[in-house]
């Protein structure tokens, strides 16, 4: 017998993914902003010894989709045996629009009235029984995050039935919704809570902009400050006293010069194993993952998880909408960018919530080129800081400069316009500790599962290349570019090769080359921008398709070479690092302020044109 299929459908940010993970036990990312789920997630659940396939779908406001993520959902409804429509009890009016559309379909339906606790505290009282009578399908009140009501949902799945409602026009649907809510919903007014006051403060420009700056500053301080502390602690308590002696023992056992020694331990420097430079699987490989990257990653994801779940990110989108518009994007695009600081892969996937192909190309390209992921950043920060903070600043200033200039140029060159933002802003909510920890654990195990093999593969390949002489050959062939333009030694080619697999290992490989500060900065910047890592490349191909990906890669190579050449020519020879960083940031800001924003006018033009044509048709 065919397995029954149950599909969760609902508006964005109503808690579908929470219901999903509660019912299947599967782990999925849940957050407090619309657009967290951008693709179908499959899971399995048992109801009375029968197995069902449960599908979690991206949120949508209606069955007439407006972006790619919503399209998935609209197509799915027809294939379901049962549709579970998750509805936000705090905003019945808006949610019922989709419910009404589902009632008009021939598919069996159950309505889950989620977040009834929050609705009550907001003074919204819903008469579930009469709602059920009016809709003609089962209505189950739940608090999904704590699991309340979900067993009733499972028990009532068999009662699901098609709504058998007549198709209505949009206006008639709203009239129907008005009639329903007047009957089942009572609202008592009460005083705004301090969370609501804070919510207001974070979208008013006068308080919102300083708040955004403070939050981002605190996040950076928290991640880098505490990260360094943990890193030192690990080094002093574990790596130096425990791990290194073990490696020396193994080194003696294998014998220097043997193949396995080269692979596992790497090169000895005057008889010493250097954790950052030896390039063995067990020395540098393990140290990069657990000694440097992991501490930063944990802290960054802790911070990000909090921002996601409390509901701040959409507010940040409101505050940065103006800025992003100058780059041909709108405020929502800041969310993929911030996610990209953790890992570019989920960031590029979340760009699916953007409406047009133009926006998606812009956002994905900017993320792939200018947003360094946490793994890469932690390596850069760890390794460049020894030359001085000013050099570190040059790298980030360059990335910002490229972000501004490239975004602006692309906005001018790409045809079409970016429609302005339209985004629901969820209320602030206290992050749920359990789901926070679950999310952190998921992301970390994802990192370990994805990154570890690639890191080890990278180190393996580079060792094999060195042994076989491929590096020597490439170094010679590419030396006009590497030496001439970038001013790096020919051997730096090897880092570029590994950079295709993993950026963090590639940055570490700059260390044994014995570079000057300026060379190191050039190398790190080129590595950050020239090509996405393998995982990002694959996801870019999936999201953009071959043609746009080629265009994007072409842009990356050009940008990265020009940025590298620029640093090579200017840094330390013409300008000291602090001045160069300031200059780049200043120029970037000036360019954004004075040159951005043709997209706005194009939107005005396009809309007035279409208005005129409808008007003409009317005559």
């Amino acid at each position: 017998m065919k397995m029954g299929r149950i599909v969760l459908v609902g508006n964005p940010n109503v808690g579908k993914s929470v219901v999903f993970s509660q019912l299947t036990g599967a782990r999925v990312v849940v957050s407090n902003y619309p657009g967290t789920t951008v693709e179908l997630t499959r899971g399995q659940m048992n109801v009375r010894d029968r197995e069902y396939e449960l599908l979690d779908s991206p949120g949508t406001y209606s069955l007439d989709p407006t972006n790619r993520a919503e399209e998935v959902t609209a197509n799915l409804v027809g294939t379901a045996n049962v549709v579970v429509n998750v509805v936000d009890a705090t905003n019945l009016e808006r949610n019922l629009y989709l419910t009404r559309q589902l009632l008009e379909k021939p598919v069996p339906l159950v309505v889950v009235l989620n977040m009834v606790d929050e609705a009550l505290s907001k003074g919204v009282h819903i008469d579930v029984r009469s709602l059920q009578e009016l809709l003609g399908v089962p209505v189950i009140p739940t608090v999904a995050i704590s699991g309340e009501g979900l067993s009733q949902l499972v028990a009532n799945l068999s009662r699901a039935q098609p709504g058998q409602a007549d198709p209505l026009s949009p206006d008639e649907r709203w009239a129907w919704i008005g009639a329903v809510t007047r009957k089942v919903q009572k609202i008592t007014r009460r005083h705004p809570t301090w969370l609501e006051a804070l919510a207001l403060a974070s979208i008013k420009p006068l308080t919102g902009i300083p708040l955004a700056a403070a939050i981002l500053f605190f996040l950076v301080k928290f991640v880098s400050g505490v990260g360094e502390m943990i890193e030192d602690l690990l080094l002093n308590v574990f790596f130096e006293p425990v791990y290194l002696p073990a490696m020396y023992y193994l080194s003696d056992l294998l014998g220097e010069g043997s193949f396995l020694h080269g692979l596992l331990i790497g090169d000895l420097h005057q008889g010493q194993i250097l954790l950052e430079e030896s390039m063995g699987l067990l020395t540098t490989g393990v140290f990069i993952v657990f000694g440097i990257v992991l501490p930063f990653l944990v802290l960054f994801y802790l911070g990000l998880g909090f921002l996601e779940d409390c509901g701040y990110l959409p507010r940040l989108a409101v505050m940065t909408d103006r800025l992003m518009h100058r780059l041909g994007l709108h405020g929502f695009a800041i969310i993929p960018m911030i996610l990209g600081l953790g890992c570019n892969v989920p960031a590029i996937m979340s760009a699916r919530s953007l409406e047009s192909r133009r926006e998606r190309f812009l956002a994905c390209t900017l993320i792939a080129i200018t947003i360094p992921c946490a793994a890469q950043m932690s390596m850069v920060v760890g390794l460049v800081a020894r030359y001085g903070t000013a050099y570190l600043a040059v790298i980030f200033a360059t990335l910002f400069f490229i972000w501004a200039v490239l975004g602006l140029l692309l906005d001018k060159v790409l045809p079409g316009y970016t429609p302005s933002m339209i985004m629901e802003i969820p209320p602030y909510r206290w992050p749920h500790l359990k789901s926070q920890l679950q999310k952190l654990q998921m992301r970390l195990s994802h990192f370990l599962l994805e990154a570890l093999p690639f890191i080890f593969l990278g180190i393996l390949i580079i060792n094999l290349f060195y042994i076989s002489g491929v590096i020597k050959f490439l170094a010679g062939a590419l030396s006009p570019v590497v030496k001439g333009l970038l001013g790096l030694p020919g051997e730096a080619v090897s880092t570029l090769l590994v950079g295709v697999l993993r950026k963090d290992v590639a940055v570490a490989m700059l260390v044994p080359l014995g570079l000057t500060a300026s060379q190191f900065v050039t190398g790190a910047t080129v590595l950050a921008t020239y090509f996405p890592c393998a995982a990002t490349f694959i996801i870019l191909y999936k999201e953009l398709g071959a043609r746009d990906l080629l265009a994007s890669v072409f842009l990356m190579i050009i940008t990265s070479l020009s940025a590298g050449t620029m640093i090579n020519l200017l840094l330390d020879t013409v300008l000291p690092p602090a001045l160069l960083a300031l200059l780049l940031v200043g120029l970037g800001i000036m360019i954004i302020v004075f040159f951005g924003g043709t997209s706005d006018r194009r939107e005005d033009l396009a809309i007035s044109k279409s208005n005129i044509s409808t008007w003409k048709r009317g005559i």
Binding site: R94, Y97, W174, I203, P419, M421, I422, I425
Partner: protein
């Protein structure tokens, strides 16, 4: 565009309240049925409203 606004609960005749707006043609945040929606300036400027009450509720048409 109107379809997307409609599905968010913004349809002609609906009461909305402006919560805030960002200077320099920034987005406008409005409240519809107890939920807040941010609209880019381009979209917000195409919504015509009929003032119901200066201090609180407004209505679009």
């Amino acid at each position: 565009m109107t379809a997307r606004l409609q599905s968010l609960g913004l349809y002609p005749g609906q009461k909305i309240t402006k919560i805030s707006s960002v200077f320099q043609k920034g987005p406008v945040v409005i409240e519809v049925n107890r939920s807040q929606v941010a609209l880019g300036y381009g979209r917000a400027s195409r919504i015509y409203i009929e003032l119901v009450r200066q201090t609180g509720d407004r209505q679009d048409s």
